[in-house]
């Protein structure tokens, strides 16, 4: 069991490094960091451009640049942005912003998704099941940026209806805010609702579909009938024997769907003006900044790694056959 998890972890770490290397290489090949400088009017002297070029190590081959950057990362230095700001200084805050969004959104999405899936499987072909199916089809066909914009739209109507601002749709906190910690928490919460909803809705729709199929497979199985035959109530049999078995495929799904979540996070952060990692990625590509993009990629790869490993642990916890 420990050996299995350790082997998986080693595999993920290698994948992580290779992924970051690939993103770094791709960014180095497609980006032109000197473009901004060259476009300036009047054109800067050749010596300035030359200094910048040396500063960015543009004459060295890409692998060498990657090794230099990576050894900096190992010491906790992620390099500078194109505007000479140290990345490390901003990294912590942005990671915090993104993680808050991802964690709450995932927790809410997975829990509610599994719940909706189970309920619509148990009450198959009733009104609730049809409603859940229609809801998830509709949400899964709507891109996150559209859901986000529609949520904004709804919030605006809501605020107009109440006559004052109930839900904020820009930023993660009120910059001019003053007051105690309880009021501060409330302020954060009012900013948090819409972006979290934008992320969680997709997750709910996604997981509920799969949970419903998995649960339906289990519902007709012989062991569930046996569990009831030996005297368990239907509810008890469903949760103790049915749900546990039906959750196993979800563990695998969790790792695969994490990329989807991150992509959704990019849109959500951008639409609701949260300065997290997703927002930074878009900014980095727009500014043609290799270091920012590589940092975000590393962050994404580590997140996918953790979620993949977590899903392995979950799998082992749910399925005794893995634990030998």
């Amino acid at each position: 069991m420990a050996g299995f998890l350790l082997r998986r972890l080693a595999n993920y770490v290698v994948l992580c490094l290779v992924a970051t290397f690939l993103a770094f290489t791709l960014a180095s090949l497609t980006f032109d960091p000197l473009a901004k400088l060259n476009e300036r009017n009047p054109p800067p002297p050749a010596s300035v451009i030359e200094a910048k070029r040396r500063d960015l190590r543009l004459d060295e081959p890409v692998p060498q640049r990657f090794v230099a950057w990576m050894s900096g990362v190992a010491r906790g230095d992620f390099g500078n942005t194109a505007t000479d700001q140290p990345i490390t200084a901003e990294l912590g805050r942005r990671v915090g912003v993104s993680l808050r969004l991802f964690l709450i959104g995932t927790l809410l999405g997975v829990t509610l998704g599994v719940l909706v899936g189970v309920v619509s499987a148990v009450r198959q072909y009733r009104f609730g099941d049809y409603f859940a199916t229609l809801f998830s089809f509709l949400v899964l066909s709507t891109p996150v940026f559209l859901i986000g914009t529609l949520l904004k739209f709804g919030a605006l109507r809501l605020n107009q209806g109440f006559g004052f601002t109930v839900l904020y749709f820009t930023g993660e906190a009120d910059p001019s805010f003053q007051g105690g910690w309880a009021a501060a928490l409330l302020d954060r919460l009012r900013h948090l609702v819409l972006p979290t909803l934008a992320i969680a809705l997709h997750q709910i729709a996604f997981y509920s579909r799969y949970q419903r199929s998995a649960m339906l497979d289990v519902l007709g199985s012989d062991f569930l009938r046996t569990a009831q035959a030996k005297g368990l109530t239907r509810r008890r049999a469903l949760f103790r024997h049915g749900l546990r078995t039906a959750l196993i495929p979800m563990a695998t799904l969790f790792a695969f769907s994490f990329g989807l979540l991150i992509t959704g996070g990019v849109f959500t952060e951008r639409i609701f003006g949260w300065f997290g990692m997703g927002d930074w990625l878009v900014y980095g590509v727009e500014q043609q900044d290799t270091n920012i993009v590589a940092t975000v990629t590393l962050f994404v790869a580590v997140l996918v790694l953790v979620s993949g490993w977590l899903s392995d642990v979950l799998y082992a916890a749910l399925d005794p056959r893995v634990r030998v």
Binding site: L29, F31, D32, F137, T142, P143, L146, L281, V285
Partner: protein
């Protein structure tokens, strides 16, 4: 309950239908394709989806012929006009007709979606079948590659690569989307190939000295046709979503081309005050993806009745049968496997070469 009972006893494919059409034409030979088409047509949602997609294509490509404005025209007398009059969907800040713009975006999004769906599924078939057929290190390398591409979200890669195709043709964008959209399907294909590899006809071909490539292309891939058709459909939906998402940030379709994604991006800037700028493009996008997903779902039920939905109905029927029995139903044999679901719905093939389907009596 009795109504549900008769309904599900007669049809395993989809709701509606009823037991009557299963036995309405027993004289005509039932080929597989006719069976599939009939099962698909019985699924109302899938049929609606197919019709809507066809209509969208016709609308997108034919509407410029009869619409009052073209996408290049500007109406200097109407800026930011809400829908009405000759501007069916309103106008933009510079007097462009939103309807013409939306149709042009729809054209591009539909085209890109279709191309990417087909190309990426073809790639998935080739890579997955190669990995599954050869096994060993080929398999390990290819699956490791798949894992890697799953770690790196394709959105991230394409957005990083986007400066490379700025100012180039949108076809390059199509290639990139296809290049990073095949991983999931490839995994499933690999699994199926590993079981197909041991089948007699593949072994026979191998012993007759056919090359691996020929075996993969001629014997293995055609045997997965139903899976590939389903996945291609689903991939079209995913591709439309990916395309619009990337275009939303300006990392996809580049001006002067427009897609639904770029239109929505342009519209959302003032979405809260002028909703018609993005609502129509957004609506068309949702309708497109929704229809594609419905068709995919219907195709899955029709081509592969043993999968999810159809099996579900079969099981439900069994549960209903096991309950308080109505006079018309005999209790179904408990050993009946899910694969006999189609035979129960069509007595003609059921009785000819499926000896285990003994419950035809309840259907008619």
């Amino acid at each position: 309950m009795t109504l549900d009972d008769t309904d599900s006893a007669g049809t395993s494919g989809a709701a509606g239908g009823g037991p009557v059409d299963a036995s309405v034409e027993p004289t005509r030979a039932l080929t597989r394709s006719r069976l599939v088409v009939r099962r698909f047509l019985r699924n109302r949602l899938a049929l609606v989806g197919l019709v809507v997609i066809a209509l969208l294509y016709v609308l997108a490509f034919a509407s410029p012929m009869f619409a009052p404005w073209t996408h290049a025209q500007q109406d200097y007398t109407a800026f930011l006009r809400p829908p009405g009059g000759s501007h069916w969907f309103g106008t933009t800040q510079i007097g462009e007709d939103v309807f013409a713009q939306t149709m042009r975006g729809l054209q591009k999004s539909l085209t890109i979606g279709l191309l990417v769906g087909v190309i990426s599924t073809a790639m998935a078939a080739l890579v997955g079948a190669t990995a599954g057929y050869f096994g060993g290190w080929v398999d390990r390398v290819l699956m490791w590659l798949v894992d890697l591409l799953l770690v790196l979200p394709s959105f991230l890669i394409i957005s990083i690569a986007s400066p490379a195709f700025r100012g180039r043709s949108w076809l390059l964008f199509v290639v990139l989307l296809a290049l990073f959209g095949w991983m999931m399907t490839a995994r499933i294909v690999r699994g199926m190939t590993m079981t197909l590899r041991e089948r007699e006809f593949v072994k026979a071909a191998r012993f007759m000295g056919q090359s691996p490539l020929r075996i993969i292309v001629r014997h293995i891939v055609p045997n997965m046709a139903s899976l590939l058709i389903i996945d291609a459909t689903i991939n079209v939906g995913a591709a439309v979503l990916a395309e619009t998402g990337l275009s939303y940030f300006g990392f996809g379709v580049q001006p002067p081309d427009v897609s639904l994604g770029t239109l929505i991006a342009a519209g959302t800037r003032s979405a809260l005050t002028f909703p018609w700028l993005f609502l129509f493009a957004g609506g068309f996008l949702v309708v497109t993806v929704l229809s594609v997903n419905w068709v995919g779902d219907g195709l899955r039920d029709a081509l592969d009745p043993t999968s999810t939905r159809a099996r579900r109905r079969e099981r439900r029927r069994r549960r209903v049968d096991a309950g308080p029995t109505t006079p018309t139903t005999q209790s179904a044999p408990t050993t009946q496997s899910a694969s006999t679901a189609p035979s129960a719905s069509t007595p003609s093939i059921g009785s000819s070469h499926r000896p285990q389907s003994t419950d035809d009596g309840s259907a008619g």
